[in-house]
């Protein structure tokens, strides 16, 4: 084996991360997309249907993002460092957005005033 050939462990983890990215983009694309379409209607009934369609799944779908980040951190720390250094603030904004999105799911139920 030459030095340039990747080890099978590295290939395995690259595969794990690739699969996780595809699954994340597919699954969370579904509920992030519904979230993006949420602003297109103000009818309370449609909005409730949208929320009901994604509320059992959205947090499970987001967990694939954790798989991607943790695998990159543990398997390819240099790549993680290269990625995280310039993207520190964008990733911070991503996380803050996800925090507000997650809390919004819980808070929406407790508001009696209709937002529609």
């Amino acid at each position: 084996m030459t030095a340039l050939e990747p080890s099978s462990l590295a290939l395995f983890w690259a595969g794990v991360i690739a699969v996780a990215i595809v699954v994340y983009a597919t699954l969370d694309g579904f509920d992030l997309g519904v979230g993006a379409l949420f602003g297109t209607t103000r009818q309370a009934q449609l909005r409730s249907q949208m929320i009901a369609a994604i509320s059992p799944f959205w947090d499970g779908n987001e967990t694939w993002l954790v798989v991607i980040g943790a695998s990159l951190y543990a398997a390819f720390p240099v790549a993680y460092a290269v990625f995280m250094a310039p993207f520190y603030l964008p990733v911070l904004l991503l996380l803050l957005g996800l925090i507000f999105r997650g809390v919004a799911f819980e808070f929406r139920i407790t508001t009696s005033r209709s937002l529609g």
Partner: protein, 134 residues
Amino acid sequence: MVGMGLIMLAISWLGNILRWRGTLEKACWFLWCALLSFPSGFVAVLAGWFTAEVGRQPWVVYGLLRTKDTVTPSLKTGDVITSLLAYIIDYAVIYAFGLYYIYRLLKEGLEEDSVGAGGATPGRPLATETGNRE
């Protein structure tokens, strides 16, 4: 966390003693204590986290890999301050609204049909019947 647990135990035992005496509904001071103790669970959880996590650096090795060796070289002080402030503001907003909504739920009181799990969304035990009001 342990202190909050003892307070919770004290309140629940005191409530049982008062109920056994039949004066639970008339003991206004106790009912106020029970109402004001609603954040005790959150305080206990946060205090437990502080105990477990403050000063914890699982990536250092005692004497071999010190804190100064583990600082990310590319991380700028400004970025750290920005992210810390952003998280503080973020959590302050969320906790303020959370307290406000808890206060509103307490003010509205129990709904007759909120006891059963009928309207609960799977995996979201907090999201019970109140969601079907609109």
